[in-house]
Amino acid sequence: MQDLSLHLLDVLENSARAGASLIQIIISADEKSNILSFKITDNGSGMNAETLSSAQNPFYTSKASRKKKVGLGIPLFKQNAELCEGSFSMKSELGEGTVIEVTFQINHIDRMPVGSLADTIISSVIGHSETDYYLHILHNTQDQTFDYEFDTRLLREELGDIPLTYPDVMQYIDQVINNGVKNTKMGEI
């Protein structure tokens, strides 16, 4: 993976494949404390303790069982976090869902660039148009705060039975997310 937004997409795909109906993504960058964090919470099928621990090891996949498929994605994300003195935690309960929290030291020399968060969110939202996504980006610089929220549930209230995949809706989503993410200046850290 070339950047953190691609790792995020990989995690979001796991959540969608676990059958989540709601995926919540909280991304926060606090320049004073030098911490960048990603928290992904889903209400998918979850994992038992054994699968949970295997998922963090390279070369494990539950593909054969087809219940939940985890490959190299999680171990790579974890390794990248630990490489820049960050942290990685994954909690899960069968039937409840999974919570992944990954932190990075913003100024660490080995920290990957954030990449295009907008592309990742748009791809997930449209690619799993039945799933709801809640995104919250919070960015504190030395003297400013930027805050952005996006919630597909609010869109659905307005759209009724028109799907998120309708061309004009896709264009709407593309514009609001691109603008919203850009205004948080997350691309500049």
């Binding site: 993976m1 691609l6 997409l9 990989d10 795909e13 969608a16 494949r17 593909k63 498929k69 490959g71 190299l72 994605g73 790579l76 592309d119 990742t120 748009i122 791809s123 997930s124 449209i126 690619g127 799993h128 148009s129 609010l154 869109l155 307005e158 759209l159 009724g160 028109i162 799907p163 995949t165 309708y166 061309p167 004009d168 809706v169 896709m170 264009q171 709407y172 593309d174 514009q175 609001v176 603008n179």
Partner: protein, 120 residues
């Protein structure tokens, strides 16, 4: 700046559109978005497909994402699934190829044989 009110206008237009066509989706395009697909550029392919479909205003095609299918060496991979026809799988797709697939296969109904890796 777009607001939620813009969605209401889209809704009216879309309802009118759907009534005229009176049909659901004709084709489903599935992008392989597993770890290796992502690492090989599947997100850019997805982005291109969505842009093409939105700008050409193609209302009867749905693009979705799936996991690894064991074709890692040919990622990014996309399937074109059409009712009553064989499923066509394209491999080593990039944004340029994705544009050609939309224009030739989705719009004109002619699969792009150069990029096909399997049919079933």
């Amino acid at each position: 700046m777009k607001t939620l009110a813009d969605l209401r206008k889209i809704r009216e237009k879309a309802q009118h559109d759907m009534k005229l066509r009176n049909s659901g989706s004709r084709i489903k395009i599935v992008v392989g978005m597993g770890t290796s697909g992502i690492a090989m550029g599947a997100r850019e392919v997805m982005k291109t497909l969505l842009n093409e479909i939105a700008t050409r205003h193609i209302v009867d095609v749905i693009v979705s994402q799936t996991g690894e299918k064991g074709l890692s060496s040919m990622e990014p991979v996309i399937d074109v699934i059409e009712e009553g026809k064989e499923t066509i799988t394209y491999g080593n797709v990039n944004p340029e190829k994705a544009k050609r697939i939309i224009a030739e296969h989705i719009v004109n109904g002619q699969p792009v044989t150069d990029y096909i890796i399997s049919r079933d």
